[in-house]
Symmetry: C2
Subunit: 788 residues, 2 copies
């Protein structure tokens, strides 16, 4: 400060410039780099967060940079420190390797167990009860290629119990056993979830999105959640409910990552660094769910992550690959394929087919919007009425309903994954499925190959089996659509990737077969003549199923690039990207026109998580002054002064308010900002001072300055809290448009921001204020933004 | 303001609270949304930027949001406005479509022309001079499958001129013609670049990175650059210089995008929106260069882009696909393949092969570091010595050297793309290449197929042709490594993807053949026994070439995920991701250990572009106060006061300083911040007022407040500049660590930030200050951060 200006400064700030006891009198900090005392960890608990609070990304990243700097500095002095520094640098990669291995192994285990238990509902293998149907018949030598799934070693429960008897009673008995097993599995799943890990239910993706955005939910990614979710996921999938294991696998992978983080100081102690690892883990989850590592990374980038630096991109990719290859080594599908649904099509698509593809996109968008609306309405009903008090009964009722209705139709009885595989599959000459019952081809039951079609078009003329299959598929479509709405949200682990894909695949296959028959019957028309040469396949119903699946999944989740890439990895051909893209684009546009939210965002809002959506731009014309607290009618802002307050006064302020932090000003009159102090740090420090610092009494002064003010020698010792003061709080002016404030909050990951005008502190904006304001602007109840 | 506090405010700020002439006396703006006048475009020029300046991302994005809001509001009132609003929403997609079509078409044209002109160096087609060698012989019926490239219609220049004469003189004549054509092409290229578009030289990627980060270089993406770059790129590639067309294609695509933006108001007027389109265009560039749309998008995301919102991701993907399919429709490679190098391998790789792959990674890293170091040293020499004054001669000398040395060896004579194709290719039984001259296979010259190998291992025992090929390849490797260093940076369009890939592919193939022969000769050893069963191929030299190519490209560009994805799209198999990743990871680590910068960053620094690298974290412990201007020894900060300055005083301040903007404070004494005004806006407004506002003289007051201060009635009318004042400048405190300041600048795209302490304005930090500080911290010359 230049001397001539000295007197113009209001009197309070002069306090700090009086050169007392070695206190720095310079008007600005010296040029030498200076440690910020925020990170002084001497008092335990300072710098940590309470449950259901939002982390401060800036502070966490600063902490990590300080840590890194310290290690680098030390490494110049000793070899041990150098080795430590190198191991620290590689610990991220090691962690990724471990996450990949653990998640891949768990996913493999889940796949195998779910496969076995799904088959257990129908029967058991005499060679050993631990064989599933397929393995049981593989081990047997008596099967032909045609009847891979029929072998004497595999007995249905009815066969086992009563021997081969009257067909009707066998069916009833099998149905009874099917329902019983399903109920047992579902009951075990819901009881385990309720007893040990309530967080294990649902898909977990909405919560993981919220956690990645900086919220803290303790125990959500803990070891109990992991164990219970893994077990109950197998049970829930095996029970035949209309749910998938893909979403929960993301949760499982994140649990693995969180637990493994505990072994690395770098990640255990830093909430921001841990979230980088969790972002990678969500990529791992999708990678093992679909065998699509690149798609997984893009899913994490597009859908789940909040803060995704390039370093994380590369590490996610590594972890996703490790996980995919671990899964492949376990080989749960028994076919050495990395991917869940391996498809290979041989016929190129025709430009005109874009019309049905776009139609599928419209269907997908409509279905997505309907599903989200209906599911949220149902979940709200569960939340607000007595229905929510009986989760076990609800699960059992839904399971009973699913099992009773699903058993009679072949396509609903089989597991969703099998169904999707069959729908995606292109009909070969040897296929014995009813879906491939073309009159020029081998029928579903005859088993003999009769490839000599009577006429050129006969090869693709539908046989009676195909017509039956179409009816059954149509029924299955309606059934799946309705039951999925009721299923997603019950208190067992449940993903909706697989049900959505199944709905889309059924719709696509129906349309595909329809198109195919249209082409076969009208192959002389001009439109089909140049396209469908007689005898050759010109329409691939399996491709339609795949496009439909992409459209429906896109409608529900609003994924775009990652979805196309996942589908591209499933088929391995660039050829089909255009159909997939046309469908997902249409689907997203249609669904967005009806409602902007994806199912995950809808659930986040339903649960009132404090999540600041990064995709949607804030488009209203309000200013910071419209959002900041206190409002004009409110009492003035609760602030601390940098000196002049006693311990008692500060404690009273803490007791009287519930704010998470307080701005520190030079004086109540000038309201000139000095810094910001967090409530938690303040409470801990004051308690600590009362307990350990001698002579601290209620009238002791609390100082947030580095220098002592002139005080009488008889005064009790002051409590110096300069080390917990954040000297660089973020500030905006009252005139700052809210769109910029929202941008700052999103991009920097702030918890709060102070509002000043002409150098005077006027108010504060917290993340919750912003969320409430956004809710208000969208004509929603602003009070819904609370964790409950 | 509460009455009791009123008098405590320093007297200057009271001015604004005196209720004069309807001026708002409220202590804070009303709750009703308020328009910020920044965007008041009545005075032309306000809100635009000068050349070689940095844009303000926050302001540009605000402008766009305002525009969008206005359109949305209007659309509620009339149908025409609604249609306009819809067309505005879809204009982004339309623009992407056009960019894809135009870039795809241009890339196709470039491919065809370059192919033809490359062949023109060797000979001409008698059927029509416009046929290239391959097309010429396709049209001919006299060729067999074995000798596709030998047909009577294709005449080398020697054959054409002197008939078939003595072999030696034919060779000399062909060599002479080859060199002459090369010199002609190179001369034309360099002359065109120098005469019409100096910005057309080089790869363009460093400049595009800088432009995308917010810098303005007028004309860099203009129509002249586009035309000249397209023509000279063909010439440069055809001249046989060691350069590729991949980098320049990114520049070409960005030029297309920039030109097409002029047809859309939304993008023409907004620098931030235009940069979103340019990010998508760089994805398009890579997409057409390699036929890898997903890789292109990831390249844009990882390597080029600065601000890449999710919406851009999706649009980039769309544009990249459109471009790829346009290119495929043009079918420049004549094989219906989308990709530049289509490869298909049939042999899986063995875990032990990771050792040679990692070795290739190390080679790639070393080569990358060496190349960057040598190339930068060479470019610096060119820049600082008289060498730089003779660009035409330099180009001709390099071309002469390349043509003279390249002709004798088959592998350097052929174009780099052909060479890479051949190196990537796995040897089939029918391959007539010398590289496939195995003793159990058909020789390079014999042409007859002799697949019955004498013994089990004979199938892969090297023949004499292969040994010759190895020697030639080793020579070609050394030649390419040296000549590329001298070539990248000469004044013609030049990319380095292809040369890097070529170097890597040669090294990889050499190692691959070496490994193969090792395995063949030692197939009885324990190590090879379980892996190489006799008679079967166990090592694919083509895969080694591909891995080597990825490693070398990774070493030079430091790309990671995008590189692996591009390579994955080239082969279409997930199987080879692990070898590719092992090699690129090793390569990146090795190269990063030697020097942190990629070739693009090194060139950015060499040219002194103001580019704030987003990847590298700022790790020093300095505070805002260490970086801000004025320094302690400097004169005080030049500020404007919100009232009390005359037109003359303001004009003198403008004339005396060169700053791009000035903070506005309440008074010189209090230094309490009101806002920030840009020099350009200020100059334009004052000129405008002098010219058009009546009665404005030098002593007229300049007011930055909304309300008039009490003035004598005789005083000349005041110039009111409230509308150009940014009321929400970004501020940080003096104690803010620089790491946080750097983070804010990067994430929000700021130009400048004001530094305050306890409500007083102390200084300013601009982007250049940060860059200088970073250079200083890295012990480099801080003055190098200037555009020159």
């Amino acid at each position: 400060m230049r001397p001539s200006e000295f007197l113009l400064v209001s009197h309070e700030s002069v306090l700090c410039f009086v050169p007392v006891g070695g206190c720095k009198a310079d008007w600005r900090p010296s040029n030498s780099p200076k440690l910020i005392d925020l990170l002084d960890d001497t008092v335990p608990g300072i710098g940590t967060y309470e449950d259901f609070n939002t982390i401060d990304w800036v502070r966490e990243k600063s902490k990590d940079r300080d840590r890194h700097r310290e290690i680098t500095n030390k490494s110049k002095h000793s070899t041990v420190a150098l080795l430590f520094s190198i191991s620290d640098a590689f610990s991220g990669w090691l962690l990724m390797l471990l996450i990949g291995l653990m998640s891949g192994a768990l996913a493999g285990g889940i796949d195998i167990a779910a496969h076995w238990m799904t088959d257990l509902k129908e029967g058991v293998c005499l060679n050993g009860f631990w064989f599933n149907h397929e393995h049981c018949c593989w081990a047997s030598n008596e099967t032909t290629f045609q009847e891979r799934d029929k072998c004497p070693q595999w007995k249905t429960w009815a066969e086992l119990m009563v021997g081969v008897s009257e067909q009707g009673s066998v069916n009833v008995l099998n149905h009874f056993m099917y329902v019983s097993w399903a109920l047992l599995f579902a009951f075990l799943a819901v009881i385990l979830v309720r007893a040990f890990a309530p967080y294990a239910c649902g898909s977990g993706i909405p919560e993981i999105k919220t956690i990645l955005s900086g919220f803290i939910i303790r125990g959500y990614l803990g070891k109990w959640t992991l164990i219970i979710k893994t077990i109950t996921l197998v049970l829930a999938v095996s029970s035949g409910l209309s749910l998938g294991k893909e979403g929960p696998l993301v949760h499982v992978a994140c649990c693995c990552a969180n637990i493994l983080c505990h072994f690395f100081t770098k990640y255990r102690r830093n909430e921001a660094k841990r979230r980088e690892v969790l972002s990678a883990a969500s990529a791992v989850g999708v990678s093992v769910a679909f065998g699509a590592p690149i798609g997984g990374v893009l899913f994490s980038l597009e859908e789940v992550s909040y803060y995704f630096p390039l370093k994380t991109l590369w590490r996610s990719f590594f972890a996703a690959l490790v996980a995919a290859f671990t899964l492949r080594s376990i080989n749960p599908f028994g076919n050495s394929r990395l991917v869940l649904f391996y498809v290979e099509f041989h016929t190129p698509w025709h430009l005109l087919e874009l019309i049905p593809f776009v139609l599928l996109g419209i269907f997908g968008g409509l279905w997505g919007a309907f599903f989200i609306h209906a599911n949220i309405a149902w979940c709200r009903l569960r939340k607000n009425t007595r229905l929510g008090h009986y989760p076990v009964i609800e699960v059992l009722v839904v399971t009973l309903l699913t099992a009773l209705l699903a058993f009679p139709i072949e396509y609903t009885r089989m597991s969703s994954s099998e169904l999707i595989s069959e729908l995606f599959n292109d009909c070969g000459l040897l296929d014995s499925s009813k879906l491939c019952d073309y009159s020029g081809n081998s029928g579903g039951t005859s088993g003999s190959v009769n490839a000599t079609a009577a006429n050129g078009l006969g090869a693709r003329l539908a046989g009676p089996g195909l017509y039956t299959a179409m009816w059954q598929l149509a029924l299955a479509l309606v059934f799946k659509m309705l039951i999925t709405v009721a299923t997603f949200g019950i208190k067992v682990p449940s993903g909706l990737f697989i049900p959505s894909i199944a709905v889309g695949a059924i719709a696509g296959r129906l349309l595909g077969v329809g198109m195919e028959q249209l082409a076969v019957h009208n192959h002389e028309r001009k439109i089909f003549r140049g396209w469908c040469s007689p005898g050759a396949d010109c329409i691939t119903p399996g491709l339609y199923a795949m496009v439909g699946a992409a459209a429906c999944l896109g409608g529900v989740t609003r994924m775009t690039v990652s979805l196309v890439v996942i589908m591209f990895e499933l088929t391995g051909g660039l050829e089909y990207i255009v159909p997939l893209m046309a469908a997902t684009m249409t689907s997203k546009w249609v669904a967005d026109a009806l409602s902007r939210e994806s199912i995950y965002e809808a659930h986040i809002r339903l649960n009132g998580y404090p999540f600041l959506e990064a995709k949607e731009e804030f488009r209203h014309k309000t200013l910071a002054t419209d959002v900041m607290r206190p409002r004009q009618s409110d009492p003035p802002l609760s602030v601390l002064t940098q000196s002049g307050m006693s311990v008692e006064e500060v404690e009273r302020l803490i007791a009287d308010t519930t704010y998470s932090g307080f701005p520190v000003v030079i004086s109540q009159q000038s309201q000139r900002l000095v810094g910001f102090v967090l409530r938690r740090d303040l409470v801990i420090s004051l308690e600590n001072a009362r307990r350990h610092q001698e002579g601290v009494v209620s009238v002791s002064a609390v100082l947030f300055t580095e220098c002592d003010p002139p005080a009488s020698p008889s005064a009790p010792p002051a409590v110096k809290l300069h080390n917990i003061l954040d000297l660089s709080p973020f500030t905006v002016t009252v005139h700052t448009p809210m769109e910029i404030v929202v941008d700052i909050f999103r991009k920097l990951g702030l918890r709060q921001c102070l509002v000043i005008q002409n150098g005077r502190l006027l108010g504060i904006i917290t993340k919750k204020d912003i969320l409430k304001h956004m809710a208000q602007m969208a004509n929603r109840d602003p009070e819904s933004i609370l964790f409950n």
